[in-house]
Amino acid sequence: MIQISIYKRLKNYKDLMLVFIWREFTIRYKQSFIGILWAVIQPLSMMLLFTFVFTYIKPVKFSNYPYVLFLYSALLPWSFFSSSVNYAVPSLTNHYNLITKIYFPREILPLSGIAVAIIDFCIASLVYMVLLAVFRADITWNVLWFVPLFSLLVIFTVSVCLIFSALNVYYRDVKLATGFVIQLWFFATPVFYSIDKVSLKLKLILFLNPLTFIIENMRRCVVEGRGVILWQFALELSLTVLLFFAAYRYFLITEKKFADVI
């Protein structure tokens, strides 16, 4: 039912959505000297920093393959998530001018930010491929899991962005909190560490964070050649889809008051 309503809402606004995505992409790198390279600089610099810390300052061995690969494989999806949230949360309040004057499905605003993050993700993936080739990672057929896992990540990201962008219309606290919540969330997600060696009890706690499952497995399936446990994936998928429906419903209910409240 709700899928039909999303389709019906967005069908007539396909071109508006495309123009928004194009615009976000254009203005992001307008008057910038290195332009699109910024999409790779963020994950790359984080990768160098953490590699430096865990190689020279406090040598820790997280994996039996290069730490650079270990890190980049998780930084890639993480950067997608954090840049989506950072863009989407203030997206509605930033377009105050449009929201109080013209009707269009409001979810176009956060969604176009996520779409730009997907483009950035693709660009950063090219660097990933170079790294995989340089460090001679053993790629197996399990690499195909990357696609369903990424889809899961997108659904989860969209849900989070819908809820918090709508909430930010009411409470600007959301925008103020985003920065440090994202920072905390980063440490709660196995990006620079792995959950492989932690105790079962701790594992269960870490798995309360949906990104733990997604990001850990995105690393396993590519650089470690491991598969995803099917029932776990099915469970995570159903929970995420449920979250998405709830988030979208919440967005549609609050949307009616955006223009009065913003």
Binding site: I99, T100, I102
Partner: protein, 235 residues
């Protein structure tokens, strides 16, 4: 349902606003309504006021009506309700056809984009498709008379150029219903005349219009009928 020859029908429309920031209040309301939805919406609570009271207006297809009244009389709120941007506290709004709100021209402009890029942006916001914008591009630029600056970013535009471009995009929309809020006062005399002429031409082509302006002479020229509003009530 709306009968075929009507474009806009407003039935017993009431709109309530809250004087202070209503943000946490309204979220609390939502939660309360969720639990017990019986709250009487027609009573005014502390600090609330009616922006519109019992408004009934029918606009026929191809008709132009003017809204006239002092500041704060509810004209813009009425336009927002027709544009589906906000929703009535009580009553019904029925609209037949696509609405292009020509409210505050250039609301969709982004200062870092060029004039041409902003045509895509604003055109899409007004409901045009990309291919439609492409075919109308030359005509939009020609009407605005700013060909020489069209590939310059709009932050360098003068306010007159800004308005010219915004108006030019707006009148190229295919929408059946145009909401025109104080935008006929754009640019220099020559351009203003050209805009009024264009609006008359659109009227002849059968577009429905709702016009808000403080210029009585202009109002009499363009509108078939004028509705006088004061403090949210039709006089």
């Amino acid at each position: 349902m709306l009968s075929d020859n009507l474009s806009i029908e407003l039935i017993q429309l009431w709109k309530k606003y809250y004087r202070e920031n209503l943000f946490h209040r309204s979220l609390r309301d939502d939660l309360m309504n969720f639990i017990r939805p019986s709250k009487n919406k027609s009573l005014l609570e502390n600090n609330e006021f009616w922006a519109l009271k019992d408004i009934n207006i029918d606009v026929k297809k191809g008709e132009s009506i003017g809204l006239y009244g002092p500041n704060g009389s509810g004209k813009s709120t009425l336009l927002k309700l027709i544009a589906n941007v906000t929703f009535p506290t009580r009553g019904h709004v029925s609209v037949n056809g696509r609405v292009a709100p020509l409210i505050e021209i250039g609301a969709g402009f982004h200062k870092d984009l060029t004039g041409r890029e902003n045509i895509y942006m604003n055109g899409a916001i007004l409901g045009m498709t990309i291919s439609e914008i492409k075919t109308k591009m030359d005509s939009i630029i020609a009407f605005s008379e700013i060909e020489d600056f069209i590939d310059m970013s709009v932050k360098k535009y003068s306010s007159g150029m800004y308005l010219r471009l915004g108006f030019s995009i707006a009148i190229h929309s295919e929408a059946e219903i145009l909401l025109i809020d104080e935008i006929l006062a754009v640019g220099d005399e020559a351009f203003k005349d050209k805009c009024i002429q264009k609006v008359m031409e659109l009227k002849q082509r059968g577009k429905t219009m709702v016009i808000v302006t403080h210029n009585r002479k202009l109002m009499e020229k363009v509108a078939d009928r004028v509705v006088f509003l004061e403090k949210g009530v039709i006089l």
